[in-house]
Subunit: 118 residues, 2 copies
DNA sequence: CAGGATCCAAAAGGATACTG
DNA sequence: CAGTATCCTTTTGGATCCTG
């Protein structure tokens, strides 16, 4: 079972906060987001967990971290890679499934959902 | 965040073993599977967890439990509902994503994967 | 600002034994 | 066969404080 692709893939993206981080990176016009910006947007995520998840996602290639050393203190920016953007499509499919079968009349059904951002 | 459709949907299907149970119910010709049959196929899942997951999935409407009282002891059979089968498509999308971006040359890529069953 | 380091509480899941 | 009931270990993640 440990060899199963589905299993291994879930290990990458199945942890708490992970898909919300991806979603947050997908939102809005400006695609690069900074650490504290994500922290703020994600409500009550602790820096420890956010840091852990960002590292995992970077190691797995779904996001990239870019550090701008020209400022002090240096600023980090995170953004989705191609595979990360591709995975967002699956999150959107999950959302569609949820709307279809389970949570029919939610805010989320609106064109621009404040949570998921179509 | 608790109101987010993605969040709520992940609460339904994001727990350990859940998608493997769905996958197992999707495999093979015979679509109805019994408790101990699932237990055996899923390797080392404990009856407690299997029982929990099956109950959750039934409550959420992804599977149906049918009890045949004519035999003794009565036998239970589990099978996917329409929404459950619809969700399997997402699992397959997850698998495709994994194969495309992460785990390129696995057993899983074969036409019939012993784990995921295309 | 962008985290790292500790410490701790809670939850999740595993092992095992038992039962109608 | 189809689970329940206990007990216990391990894993998570949250709270908080600290720093270059």
């Amino acid at each position: 079972m440990k060899d199963c692709t589905v299993y291994k893939t879930m290990n990458i993206i199945g942890k708490r906060w992970t898909i919300h981080i991806l979603l947050e990176l997908h939102k809005g016009e400006k695609k690069e987001k900074r650490f504290n910006e994500l922290k703020r947007k994600l409500g009550n995520i602790t820096p420890k967990i956010l840091s852990e998840r960002l590292m995992e996602l970077e190691v797995e290639g779904l996001i990239t971290k870019k550090v701008d050393d020209s400022t002090k203190p240096p600023r980090s920016e995170y953004y989705l890679t191609e595979s990360g953007m591709d995975f967002v499509k699956i999150i959107q499919a999950i959302k569609r499934w949820g709307l279809k079968w389970k949570f029919q009349d939610e805010e989320c059904k609106r064109a621009i959902c404040m949570y998921c951002d179509h």
